[in-house]
């Protein structure tokens, strides 16, 4: 392990360490980096593998030190810039301690170095959760399927050809192939990757949408009912190329499952061919099926004999209504929404959405457009416009901060709040921003205290900008989640956030506020022409 003395650089000192052939995953490294950065006297720190991306980042930060020449993606790099030698040495010691601790947490038992070995050692394991970098992901998933195991493939950047081939293999073997880009599932009550702790029950969910699945399962729980299985299939399953292969198989499995009485399907609107295949396969289904294709024509779904819904909350309530035979009211009824907005005035004309959930971002755009507003986004829904500059909002801008645009070299915003906090400050400082919408998604996999992190960031941004844009949060989670719904709600409310128990109720209230008499009456600082059509 080469080690170099600290190099003086103006008022700060820098030092780099290279650990040859030592590998940690990206989330672990992000957590170690954050721990090091939080230490007093540390100006900048990077703990990462020697990938091209990390080397470029180090160069941009002025932290590419001579000892990093010739490193490979299998070498671990630690780079720290600190105010003095003492802070520098402490930071390096913290990095080492954190990495060692994480290795110790992994247990003292033998950890197999390959999936093949793990499969041999654990013949009783039926599920393989794959989250290696995209270019290796399909290979690992294939090994698992060939060994007769169900797969949840969290990784993205898997080609659609590979996806098709993996799903065909899974179908031929009667196995689950959840993903790629499948962020959530609940199998026999076990939360996999990002998932919430919900009651067990008789509603089965199949979703091509991660946060869609989380929201629907949490709301079913909120209504007092439970989930038999919640199966993710990956966002492209109902595309023309994949043809709904896994959605169809999962729904068929739930139709045969004695514990499932009602089935819910959530997805973006399918390709026409995929929808046709799905409806053909489900014709004459013996169990009621609720379908929410976000933004799709409801009539066509109803004509095909299915129950449908206009948002994620209604999807959950429809499923519960089938079980009880009783109507389920809206979580935040319209009169209450009016009450919430009654005494609030917007300090700027536009809404800004800072989402960690892709489905929420999509649903927000569609609902705002339905209400007659022009919308911009980095992931524009049909009818919305693409933001030209990712770093600058214009008009009503609704961002998916979990998209590749914002996550390159960073962890997802459900784990790491840093990018969203940075953007929150930008929006606070913008005189055009009147209302900020955001989500906090609880459950396993998510940040242990996102509510607290956002609350602290809001207070800091408010003080720095001396502005008071309104803040609405959709809190997606349950009381049984590790973070606790009520605890998180309280923390956010104390920071002046209006917290909603569903995304739909937040959007109903937001559109009421933007359209009603309390809407901003002044002139926009920029883009005065942008807004309601």
């Amino acid at each position: 392990m080469p080690e170099h003395a600290a190099a003086e650089s103006g008022m700060t000192v820098k030092k780099g360490l290279v650990h040859r052939d030592r590998y940690y995953d990206s989330v672990t490294l992000m957590r170690v980096t954050n721990e090091v950065r939080s230490r007093e006297g540390v100006c900048a720190a990077v703990v990462g593998m020697g990938t091209d991306f990390n080397i470029d980042s180090l160069k941009r930060m002025g932290l590419f030190l001579p000892e990093f020449d010739g490193v490979t993606p299998n070498d671990l790099l630690v780079a720290v810039e600190a105010e003095d030698d003492a802070a520098l040495e402490t930071a390096l010691a913290v990095a080492e301690e954190e990495m060692t601790r994480r290795r110790v947490i992994s247990g003292s038992d033998y950890i197999p170095p390959t999936l093949e070995r793990a499969l041999e050692m654990n013949p009783e394991a039926q599920v393989v959760l794959v989250s290696v970098p995209g270019r290796y992901a399909a290979g690992e998933a294939r090994k698992a399927l060939e060994a007769g195991r169900h797969v949840m493939l969290f990784s993205d950047n898997v080609s659609i050809e590979e996806e098709r081939s993996l799903k065909e293999l899974a179908v031929s073997k009667g196995l689950l192939m959840m993903g790629p880009d499948c962020g959530t599932a609940i199998l026999n009550g076990v939360p996999l990757a990002f998932a919430n702790v919900v009651r067990r029950g008789s509603i089965g969910v199949v979703a091509a949408s991660g946060t869609g699945l989380q929201e629907v399962t949490c709301l079913i729980d909120r209504f007092g009912f439970g989930i038999s299985q919640a199966l993710g299939v990956g966002g492209r399953d109902l595309s023309k190329e994949i043809g709904g292969l896994m959605t169809i198989e999962c729904v068929k499995a739930l139709l045969e499952d004695a514990a499932t009485e009602v089935i819910v399907i959530v997805s973006k609107p399918p390709a026409p061919e995929a929808q046709k295949s799905l409806f053909r396969e489900l014709e004459g289904a013996v169990k009621p099926i609720v379908i929410y294709f976000i933004g799709a024509d409801r009539e066509r779904i109803e004509e095909a004999g299915f129950v449908t819904a206009g948002d994620l909350e209604e999807t959950a309530s429809r499923a519960v209504e089938i079980l009880t035979g009783e109507p389920v009211g809206q979580l935040v009824p319209e009169n209450l929404a009016r009450e919430i907005v009654a005494n609030r005035k917007l300090p700027g004309p536009f809404v800004r959405g800072l989402y960690s959930g892709g489905t929420f971002c999509d649903e927000a755009q569609r609902k705002l457009m339905e209400a007659g507003f022009d919308v911009y986004s980095n992931t524009p829904a049909p009818g919305a416009r693409c933001v030209e500059d990712l770093q600058k909002s214009v008009g009503h801008t609704i961002l998916d901060l979990g998209d590749d645009d914002f996550t390159r070299g960073r962890a997802h915003p459900m784990i790491d709040p840093a990018e969203r906090i940075r953007r929150l400050e930008v929006e606070f400082a913008d005189d055009d921003a009147g209302l900020i919408l955001f989500d906090v998604v609880l459950g396993y996999g998510s940040h242990p205290d996102m509510g607290g992190a956002m609350a602290a960031a809001i207070r800091a941004a408010r003080e720095k900008s001396n502005r008071e844009p309104l803040l609405f949060c959709n809190l997606c989670g349950t009381e049984s989640d590790p973070q606790g719904f009520d605890k998180q709600r309280k923390v956010l409310e104390e920071a002046g956030v209006v917290v909603f128990p569903s995304h739909a109720s937040m959007l109903r209230t937001a559109t009421e506020l933007l359209s009603g008499k309390n809407a901003f009456k002044g002139k926009a600082a920029d883009h005065a022409e942008v807004g309601k059509e």
Binding site: G107, L115, G174, P191, V197, I415
Partner: protein
């Protein structure tokens, strides 16, 4: 009949390959999980990986 539903109702045992966070979370939820000390093959070098993939493919055809 779908073979898929054979897993329904059984105790889930997981092998986690990739982000350690997910294994930690499963352990917190007292779910049996086997970690894999995965690392990129061929020291993460793309050229070597491509070469290995070609050899494997060729072997498969033979």
């Amino acid at each position: 009949m779908s073979g898929m539903r054979e897993i329904f109702g059984k105790e889930v045992v997981v092998i986690n390959v990739g982000l350690d966070l997910f294994a930690e979370e499963l352990e917190k939820a007292t779910v049996p999980v086997q970690r894999v000390a995965w690392r990129p093959p061929a020291q993460g070098k793309k050229k070597v990986q491509d070469l290995l993939a070609r050899i494997k493919k060729k072997k498969g055809k033979e």
